[in-house]
Structure formats: C-alpha cells, structure tokens
C-alpha cells in the first residue's frame, strides 16, 4: 500500500523524485492530517467557549443595567424598557418539574418492561418505537399539542382538576382560574411525553449493565421480578439512572418549540399551574426576532445565557454520573 502511494506520488511529481523526497512528502501529509483532526477537535471546544463568551458579552448591558434585580424581578415591559427574568425562570423550572414528575416514572416503567418483562421478540420493535418518539421534531409536538392536546386539556382534564382539587385549601391555589387549555400544566405534560424516550433509552442501557449473575442469584433465592428490580437492578444502576434523568432534565429545560405553542406566553408568575405562563426558551423564540436592539435584545440574550448556564450544570452532572457508572461496569 505504501509502495503504491509512493509510486503515485512519484508519478504525480513533475520530475522523478527520489525515494527520500517521496517519503518526506508522505510524512508531511501524515502530520498534516493529524493536525487537521486536532484542529477540528479543538474547534468543538472553541464552539462551547464561543457560545458562552458571545452570550455573556451580549447580555452584559442587561446585567450591568439591572444588576441582581434582573434575576428576581418578574417585570417584562418592552415599552418601559424594564426587564426581569424571574417569570421566565419560574416557568422553565415549573414546566420541567411537571415533566420530570410524570416522564421519569413512566420512562423507568418502560425501561423495566423492556429489560425484564417483555418477550424477547417484541423487545426490539417496542424499543425502536419508543426511540422514534424521541426522533419526532419538537415542532410536531407543538402543532399536535395545539390542535389535539390543548382541546382535551381545556374540555376534560382541567375542569376535572378544578372540580376535584379547586375547593381544597392549599392545593386549591395550584388549580385556580378558568380552564384555558393553554398553560403551564399543558406545556409540562407535552414535555413529559418528549423526555420519556430519553429516560427510557438511558435507563434501559444502564439496566443492561447489571451482571446476570447478580439477578440470577436473587431469583435463585426466590425473589419476585420486582424484588429483583427494586433490590438488585435499581441499587446497582442508581448513579446511571440519575444521570439519565438529569440528561432528560437538560432536554426539558431547553425545549423550545413545543412549549412555545402551548404555554400561552404570558410573562407573569401565577400560583396556578393552569394559568398561562412562559419559559426562557419560549420567550426568546417569541420575541427575539422583533426585539429592538439595545436593552431589549440584551435582556433576551441574558435569558439565553442563564438557560445556557443552568443546562450546562445539569448536563455536566449527568455526564459525570453516567461516566461513574461506566467505570463501575468496566471493573
């Protein structure tokens, strides 16, 4: 192979090159390729740093103008040029919390089904179907959410919740207000469906790292399937499952299009989860293209910077936990 490469190079040279010249050229091409790959890899690193830096620079006017008040103020008034991030941060956290509350148990349930209960012949098709759910673009969840999910929420689910929980003291405040269909709860539920496949995919993979010997030993002493899952599989894979959940949380926090469609986009904090609200990403998607340069744009960039920092921390923790499990499985 080398010989042919050298011959090719000799042929391509205008005058017959000596062997050492050809080898030298080959060596040059070799280190050139290495440098090329290294530069490309470094570019990936530069991308992340570039994102952080450009968002920080863009949001500096807002941060310096509003100071710490930017984080605790829920005012958002473009005409008065007064901006605060609290409503958006609150909406992001609440919708993600609702999504996790529903998506995580269901996602884990599917993972348990796939690894412990499912007939081997069905394992692959069902697994693929769940992964396809992850492949559906978020805009599709959005349009579906508006035309199909929102009317169901408005017509059936929300009146039911208001009827059952509304009169109760304490919890009642969570379910106050008219059933609008658009709102924090609807957004949270759509998010739950969207993160479910991520929880399932990661937990299925980590469940499969459990040594069969451990499970067989437990079955051997007469444990039921769910004593094996609860007593062997979960404890063994705890770190990995939490890592997978954090990964899903990272997705939920940054999800944009689906949320924008169904949350109602009202910049306020309300005690009721049926009320309309907004999230960081929905606000950016809605307002950025029309924002005036200056404080308005800078405030939206500041929201983006906050979202970037929150998801960075969550995702970094997730990766760190999953890596810890890989080390354990490797032993």
């Amino acid at each position: 192979m080398t010989a042919t490469a050298i011959e090719a190079m000799e042929r391509s040279a205008s005058r017959p090159a000596s062997r050492s010249q050809a080898l030298g050229r080959l060596k040059f091409a070799d280190s050139g390729f290495r440098a090329l790959t290294q530069i490309s890899a470094a570019l990936v690193l530069a991308l992340l740093l570039g994102v952080a830096l450009s968002l920080f620079l863009g949001s500096w006017p807002a941060f310096s103008h509003f100071g710490f008040g930017f984080f605790i103020s829920d005012a958002w008034s473009p005409p008065k040029e007064h901006f605060g991030a609290a409503a958006a941060i609150y909406g992001t956290l609440v919708t993600s919390a609702i999504a996790m509350l529903i998506g995580v148990p269901v996602g884990l349930g599917i993972a348990v089904f796939l690894t412990e209960l499912c007939h081997p012949a069905l394992r692959r098709p069902i697994g693929v179907a769940i992964e396809l759910l992850a492949g559906i673009p978020s805009i599709i969840y959005g349009i579906w959410g508006v035309y199909y999910f929102k009317p169901v929420m408005q017509g059936y689910v929300e009146p039911f919740l208001i009827g059952v929980f509304g009169p109760l003291p304490g919890i009642g405040a969570l379910f106050g207000g008219p059933p609008l269909g658009y709102g924090v709860l609807t957004a949270g539920l759509v998010l739950a469906v969207m993160i479910l496949p991520f929880v399932t995919a990661v937990s299925r993979d980590v469940f499969e790292t459990v040594p069969t010997v451990l499970k067989e030993a437990a079955y051997g002493v007469g444990a039921t399937t769910f004593e094996v899952v609860g007593g062997i599989v979960f404890p063994y894979t705890r770190v990995g499952v939490i890592g997978g959940i954090m990964l899903a949380l990272g997705r939920a926090l940054g999800e944009t299009m689906a949320v924008t469609f169904v949350i109602g986009n009202a910049t306020k904090i309300s005690s009721s989860i049926l009320a309309q609200g907004t999230t960081i990403s929905a606000m950016i998607a809605n307002q950025f293209a029309d924002a005036d340069p200056g404080l308005f744009t800078s405030s939206l960039l500041a929201l983006g910077f906050i979202l970037f920092i929150i998801t960075f921390i969550v995702l970094a923790l997730a990766r760190w936990m999953l890596a810890a499990l890989e080390v354990k499985a490797g032993r």
Partner: protein, 283 residues
C-alpha cells in the same frame, strides 16, 4: 407465611401491571401523534404543495419555497458539519485517546449534544447576523451545522473504536503511515457507521426550528440564494400553525407530515444500516 407470600405476589402483579401500563401509555402517544399527522396531512398532499409558493390567505399556495429552502439550508449545514465532525471524531478515537485535550473535548461534545438549540441560535445570531446586518440562510446553515457536529463526532468516535486494533497493526506493519491507516483501513471498515452518523445528523437538522427563527428568518418568496433570508419547512409550520386561516393551517399539517416522514425515514434507514453493519461484523 401464606400471607407473606400472597402479599409479595400481589405487589409483583401490581408493579407488573403498572409497567405494562407505562409502556402502553408511551406507545399510545406515538400512535396518536402519527395518526393526527396522517389524518390532517395526507388530505393536503397535492401537486400544488410541491409546485406553488407559500401564499397569503385566500390564494391557493404550496410549500415549494420552504421545501427548497429546507434542502439548501440543510445541505450547506451538512457540508460544513460532516467533514468537521468526522475529523474531530477521528482525533478522539485515533490520536487523542486519553490525552487531557481529548477527555475535555469528549465531555464538551457530550454537552453540546444536548445543549438547547435555541441557545445555539442566539450564538449564531451574534456571530453571523449582527456583523452582516441581515438574516440569511447561511446563518441558519451554520446554526444547524453546530447542532449536527456533536452527533457526527460521537458516532464517528464510537464507530472507529469498533475497528479491531489488529487491523491497524497489520496495516502499520506494511509500513503505512498513520494517516493512511486511518483513511484507507479504518474509514473503510466503518463506512456504513459513518454514513449512519451523518444520516442521524441530517434527521436532527431537518426538524430543527428554534435556531432558524432568528438566523434564516423565513421568506415568503422563492429564493435559492442562501445569502438572504430563507424559508424552511419547520419555520413555515411554526408560522402557519398559528394562523387563523384554515388553508394555511392545512398547509402547516402537510408540512408537518413531510418533515416527520423525512425525519423518521432517515432514522429508520440509519438504524437498518447500523444493524446490518453490526451483523456483518458478527459473521
């Protein structure tokens, strides 16, 4: 004793039923969403969709400019992302291994893999829209490329790690320089794997909306020039789905069906490719 056993059995049955219910719940969403897409989208499929431009309400319109825009923006994104991702993945798998730079880049790449796409959009806005003073399809392509690169890097590295070292050693023993071993032996061994990664990246780019809103912006006219604002299918779905006019809503559903078919089709092809290539390796 009997009580203890029946209690355990009851708990087992209860959790089993819940687990089945969870799976049913998950699968039913897929069915519901696909049914809604087919029910609303198929009816709108006509020749007009592929031959006419998006139109104001009252005029019969199609999606031609959006389809062409999507293809161009994605293609440019792919041309940028695929070589960059493959080279970076090659560095991680072939040269970097456990070097500190490689470990850091692997970690950063994993973060970028699930970073919110809207944040990438803001970054590209700062980088490519502000300096030039106008929105452009090119900026949209760069945003999509940044989203695609981590996917290609990840699959390239994973695939190259599957190449048996004996193959590399055999090639090196013949005197091949490292770069030729990689390009002529390792790449060839995992060609389908690399294609899989690229297909997955294209699938992801096809459905992305958020980073295009303030980079490509959208355009109701036909244009093949990526230097100006450009329409794309996800953008037009975003616009028309919120429109009060039934004919625009119908087009939004048709567009949604096209996007979903493209995305799911690409992921299924990628999956089939990767399963046949791993079957080859076992034989």
């Amino acid at each position: 004793m009997a009580n203890l056993y029946s209690g355990r059995r009851r708990r087992n049955v209860m959790w089993t039923v819940l687990s089945y219910a969870a799976t049913f719940f998950g699968l039913s969403w897929l069915v519901l969403i696909l049914a809604a897409l087919l029910g609303n989208g198929v009816g709108g499929l006509s020749l007009d969709v592929f031959t006419k431009m998006t139109a104001p309400p009252g005029v019969v319109g199609g999606l031609l400019n959006s389809i062409v825009g999507s293809l161009i923006v994605t293609a440019i994104g792919l041309v940028v992302a695929a070589p960059l991702g493959i080279l970076a993945g090659t560095y991680l798998a072939e040269y970097g291994h456990h070097a500190r730079l490689a470990v850091v880049i692997r970690f950063v790449n994993d973060i970028l893999l699930s970073a919110p796409s809207i944040v990438i959009g803001l970054f590209v806005y700062q980088l490519c829209v502000v300096p030039f003073g106008h929105f452009s399809g090119l900026a949209g392509s760069i945003a999509l490329a940044i989203i695609a690169v981590p996917i290609v890097v990840r699959t390239t590295e994973d695939m190259l790690n599957l190449v048996p070292n004996t193959l590399r050693e055999a090639a090196s023993a013949l005197g091949m320089p490292r770069s030729l071993v990689i390009r002529q032996v390792a790449y060839r061994a995992v060609r389908t794997g690399l294609v899989t990664g690229i297909l997955l990246a294209v699938a992801r780019m096809t459905g992305e909306t958020a980073p295009l809103i303030f980079t490509a912006l959208g355009n109701s006219l036909f244009t093949a020039d990526p230097r100006g604002p450009m329409s794309s299918l996800p953008l037009i779905i975003y616009e028309f789905a919120r429109s009060p006019y039934p004919e625009q809503q119908k087009l939004a559903w048709t567009g949604a069906l096209l996007v979903t078919l493209a995305v799911l089709g690409l992921s299924i092809v990628a999956r089939v490719l990767s399963s046949t290539s791993s079957a080859d390796k076992q034989n």
